[in-house]
Structures are given as structure tokens and as C-alpha cells.
């Protein structure tokens, strides 16, 4: 039951201190990209399943 540090919290906490174009700034953008790709993959997977279900059971 420890506190944890999620990717999004990491970005939120550190971005105010990151100067434009610096290393930290770019690392945080990398964090955002990773987060984006994770959700993108999950969402696309869910969407494909939805599409299949829709095909199987007609409209909606």
C-alpha cells in the first residue's frame, strides 16, 4: 500500500521546472509519448473488439 509514482504524475510534477529544449523537457515529452502509445494501443485494441462485436451482433 505504498504511494506510487505514475507516468502522468511524473510529468505533472516535473514539467514546471523543465526549461524549453533542455534534457528534462525532452525526457518528459518522451514520458508523454510512452503514455500516449500505451493508451493508444489499449484503445485501438478495444476499438477492434468493438468493431467485431458490432459486426457479429448487428448495429450497436
Amino acid at each position: 500500500m505504498n504511494g506510487m509514482r505514475t507516468l502522468s504524475a511524473n510529468i505533472a510534477v516535473e514539467i514546471p521546472e523543465a526549461p524549453l529544449g533542455g534534457t528534462l523537457y525532452r525526457v518528459l515529452f518522451l514520458c508523454a509519448t510512452v503514455l500516449f502509445s500505451l493508451t493508444f494501443i489499449l484503445n485501438t485494441g478495444a476499438e477492434i473488439i468493438r468493431e467485431r462485436l458490432r459486426k457479429k451482433y448487428g448495429r450497436y
Binding site: S8, I11, A12, F29, A32, T39, F40, N43, T44, E51
Partner: protein, 532 residues
């Protein structure tokens, strides 16, 4: 037994149970916030504790811990920060000799150092000072406060003149900087006149500063001497008194009056004491402006995109990809939007705008830093998918017979769309709009990096040309909660304010949504599908 399972009775029960759990969780949330938030402004009686070691403590009772295994103890808000250093203290029940509620005790809210609880000893003003022996201290204090009120009004007036002059000088400076950037010669006519104008303004400024200093000096002559419960004396300038009351003497009506006054202060005044006291007006204003601006920016885009996807686009691989993309947009964590807003809007577009339109001010950013416009654009992006999906569903739920009938009567597709389909779909579109608005009002993470600040020096809309200052930073209720709840130096004192702010945020979201729901219902009445 087989029959029992086939009927599915337990599943019906399970669905009901789940629903009731959800409702009770919502109710619990509201209950906690309301219970903690609604009583904050109610004037508490001041409790005086005589301790066994001879000390006395005076303050508001804030918590009582009744622990049967250990000694029970109670928490007192003792205020008087300049004497005690701390606002709160814990006192063990075993140490208390007696409790009392002295009638003549005063509670004072001050501009700095928090509250003061104590007994009035002397009142000093330009008239001969009044001490305890003379009697009539209370009346003397009230009289003096009235005298101070006019001086304070003058101070406020001076301050507003001060700000006006400051911004005028700022504007001239910017104009000068622009001319210098365009390499207009220093001897040029325009430059000369601007310089002269600036000098006259500066002279006025110096005069005003002197005026202000004189006024402040005059104000220091008015003060009252108070004694705390343990006998220490403290001088309180009348100019620093925000509110003065005697909670142990107040009747119910007076308490209601006090409550109303505090509520008014909350809604229309600026915060003080690093946001833990005073009003929330800038934050309320910022939240509402943000949500409205976000709606204006995102709503048309979402609706138009939804119309195209539903009415004009042919079902194919491209539309499928777009649909997946829209659903993806709805599912991305909001902080990613924030990062995008920072990289694209703030540093990208904002930086470009600065280079094109305000090159003379660089390296100080004008649009190249977080601001209201960028924050609302980011939020708009976040809510567009919701609007798109709602528009699509609303258009899809209109029976095809209406479409066909309209086309059969000779209307074009566009006429059918604008005169029949859109009005009929408008309640459904509004539902999506409400959902989008509620989501936007509660979102804090993307705002933190695109323009919200703890304390904004000026509102984004004010009386100075060009009236809408969309590049300004702003305050937001959600961020305010985060800031005073977790970043405040005096967490214990900030706790009541956290609940009040939360309650206020809930109420504002509720008010905005009810407004939208009201519009939806009038639309629904006007274009009721059942009547067609």
C-alpha cells in the same frame, strides 16, 4: 433450483444493488464535502481552558479525540500567530482544570498573522486614547473603526490610481520599445512626445506615492491593544482588521449576518494570507471564463466534424480510422494533452506569434507562455471527442423516414440537414456538450502546465483596452484546491478552505450544467420528435 437460475432473479437483484452502491457513493461524497464545507464560516464560540499548570488557553474548538484506550485530547485553534508561532495546539483532557466561555472576548480577522483571540485593553486614535479604566471600550473601538474606514477607502482609491498609472506607463514603454526596434531615431517627433508623456506620468506617480505614504502613516496612529488569554499584549492596527466580532455574545441573527458577510467575501473578494483566507473571486472568474471560452472554441468544431462523419463521409477504411482516432482521443490521459498544449500551443504557436507581432518585447514572452487562451484550446481539444460522438449518435437516432421524406419533397441534402436534422438532433448534441463542459471544469492537470497560477495579479477580462487579455495567466478553483490543500505552508489552517473551495467548484459545475440542461429542455420542447 434450475428454475431459479433460469429466471435470473439474483441478477436483477445484483443490478439493483450495483446501482444503489453507486448512488450512495455519490451521496457520501456530497455529504462529506457539504458537512465539512458548510460550517466553516459559522462563528464558533471561543473556549477558554484553565490548565492545571496554571496556564490558560483560548480559542476555537476544532477537533475532539475521544480515545478510550489513551487519554482523550482536544485541538484548539488558538490563533495569535505572532505570539505563539502556531495556530493550533493539542491539549490533553487530563490537564484541564476548568472550561469557560468568557463573554467579552474578541475574535479578530487580520490581514496578516491570521486570527487573534483576546481581550480588548486600549484604543488609540487621534483623540485621547481610551483605556480599560475609562469604560466604553467597545463603543470607542467601533467609533475609531468608522474613522479608519474613510482612510482605508482613500488608500484603496490611491491603489487603483496607482495601478492605472502603472499600466499607462507600461504601455508607453512598450510603444517606445517598438519604435526602438523599428529603429526610429531618438530625436523623432513621436519619440519625443512619448518621452514627455512618460515624464508627466512619472511625476504624477511620485506624487501618488507620497500621498500613499502619508495615508499609511496616518493609519498607524489608529490601533488597539489586545491581551491574549495568557496575559501577553499585542498591538493590532485598525487598518489590518478585516473583521471584528465577539462570538460569545452573538445572537442567532448576528451569527447569520456574520455567515452572510463571510460568504459575500468568499464570492467577491481577493484571497489573502497565501490563499488560505479571504475570497475566491479570481478563481471563480477564471474557472467560468475558461469553461465558456473552451466551449466557444471546441463546440462548433466538434459538431461540424460529427456532421461530416455521420452525414457525408462514406463508410470506408478512412472513416474507420477516423472513428478509432476519435475514440482514442477521448481515452488519452489529460496530462498528455497538457504536454501537447505546452509544446504546440505555448512554445510553438505562442512563440511564433511573439516573433511575428511582439519582437520588441523578446526575450520576455507575451503569448509564448501559459495563458488563458492556450489553456482553453488545450481543454477544447480534450472535449472535442465527446462532442463528436454525441453529435453522431444524435443524428443517427433520427428515424430515416424523416430524411427520406424531406428529400422526396425536393429539399437538398443541405436544406434537410440545416432545417430538419440539426434542430431535431440539438437536444442530443447539447447532452454531449454538458458532458464535455463537466469534464473540462474538473480538469486540472493540463491547466497546471498551460497557464494556471496560484495568484494572478490581474483578471483576464478587465476595463483596460483591449478588455480581453487572453494571454494572461489565471486562477482556477480546481488548482486552488490542490494548491492550498497540498502546497500550503499552513495545512491545518487551510483545511476548511479546501472544503469550501471544493463545495464551490461542485456548485459552479452544477450551475453551468443546469444552464445547459435548461437550454436543452427548451430545445427539446421546440423540436420534439414525437410531434413530427
Amino acid at each position: 433450483m434450475k428454475n431459479f437460475w433460469r429466471r435470473g432473479e439474483p441478477f436483477v437483484w445484483a443490478t439493483g444493488l450495483t446501482l444503489s452502491i453507486i448512488i450512495s457513493m455519490t451521496a457520501l461524497l456530497l455529504y462529506v464535502v457539504i458537512i465539512n464545507g458548510i460550517g466553516v464560516f459559522w462563528p464558533q464560540r471561543l473556549l477558554q481552558l484553565n490548565l492545571k499548570d496554571g496556564q490558560t488557553q483560548l480559542g476555537e474548538l476544532t477537533q475532539e479525540e475521544l480515545d478510550p484506550s489513551k487519554a482523550s485530547r482536544l485541538q484548539l485553534k488558538i490563533g495569535n500567530r505572532e505570539l505563539n508561532g502556531l495556530d493550533f495546539t493539542w491539549i490533553s483532557e487530563a490537564d484541564i482544570r476548568s472550561r469557560s466561555y468568557p463573554d467579552e472576548v474578541y475574535a479578530i480577522e487580520r490581514q496578516e498573522y491570521g486570527n487573534f483571540y483576546g481581550f480588548l485593553k486600549e484604543v488609540h486614535s487621534l483623540e485621547p486614547s481610551v483605556t480599560e479604566k475609562d469604560g466604553g471600550l467597545g463603543q470607542a473601538l467601533a467609533r475609531t473603526r468608522q474613522q479608519v474606514a474613510s482612510l482605508l477607502a482613500k488608500e484603496r482609491q490611491i491603489n487603483s490610481q496607482f495601478n492605472a498609472l502603472n499600466s499607462a506607463i507600461d504601455q508607453i514603454d512598450q510603444q517606445l520599445a517598438r519604435y526602438r526596434y523599428q529603429q526610429v531615431a531618438e530625436q523623432d517627433q513621436q519619440m519625443q512626445t512619448l518621452g514627455e508623456q512618460k515624464n508627466t506620468l512619472k511625476a504624477q506617480f511620485a506624487e501618488l506615492v507620497e500621498d500613499g505614504q502619508r495615508n499609511t502613516e496616518q493609519l498607524t496612529a489608529y490601533y488597539a491593544l489586545f491581551q491574549s488569554a495568557d496575559g501577553k499584549e499585542s498591538k493590532v492596527l485598525l487598518a489590518n482588521m478585516v473583521r471584528l466580532y465577539q462570538p460569545n455574545q452573538m445572537g442567532l441573527l448576528q451569527k447569520f449576518g456574520h455567515y452572510g458577510g463571510k460568504l459575500r467575501e468568499l464570492l467577491v473578494d481577493d484571497p489573502r494570507e497565501s490563499n488560505t483566507e479571504g475570497g475566491l473571486f479570481p478563481a471563480i472568474f477564471g474557472t467560468v471564463t475558461l469553461v465558456l471560452l473552451m466551449s466557444i472554441l471546441s463546440f462548433p468544431l466538434g459538431v461540424i466534424a460529427g456532421i461530416y462523419l455521420r452525414e457525408y463521409a462514406h463508410e470506408g477504411i478512412l472513416v474507420k480510422i477516423v472513428r478509432i482516432a476519435v475514440n482514442n482521443l477521448a481515452g488519452i490521459p489529460s496530462i498528455v494533452y497538457g504536454i501537447f498544449g505546452l509544446g504546440f500551443f505555448v512554445y510553438g504557436i505562442g512563440g511564433l506569434l511573439d516573433q511575428v507581432f511582439f519582437p520588441e518585447r523578446l526575450p520576455n514572452p507575451t503569448f509564448g507562455t501559459g495563458g488563458l487562451l492556450w489553456a482553453s484550446l488545450t481543454l477544447g481539444l480534450l472535449t472535442i471527442p465527446v462532442v463528436i460522438v454525441a453529435t453522431k449518435e444524435a443524428l443517427g437516432s433520427i428515424p430515416p423516414s424523416i430524411r427520406e421524406g424531406s428529400l422526396a419533397l425536393g429539399a437538398t441534402r443541405f436544406q434537410t440537414l440545416t432545417r430538419l436534422l440539426l434542430p431535431m438532433a440539438s437536444p442530443g448534441i447539447m447532452t454531449g456538450f454538458i458532458l464535455a463542459m463537466a469534464r473540462a471544469a474538473g480538469e486540472v492537470a493540463p491547466l497546471m502546465i498551460t497557464g494556471v497560477v496560484k495568484l494572478a495579479p490581474a483578471l483576464p477580462i478587465d476595463g483596460q483596452f483591449p478588455f480581453f487579455h487572453l494571454n494572461r495567466k489565471f486562477m482556477h478553483l480546481g488548482f486552488h484546491i490542490y494548491d492550498i490543500g497540498f502546497q500550503s505552508p499552513n495545512v491545518e489552517a487551510a483545511k476548511p478552505m479546501v472544503y469550501v473551495t471544493t463545495l464551490l467548484l461542485i456548485l459552479i459545475v452544477l450551475a453551468l450544467c443546469s444552464l445547459a440542461i435548461y437550454f436543452r429542455n427548451t430545445m427539446r420542447k421546440r423540436y420534439a420528435i414525437a410531434d413530427v
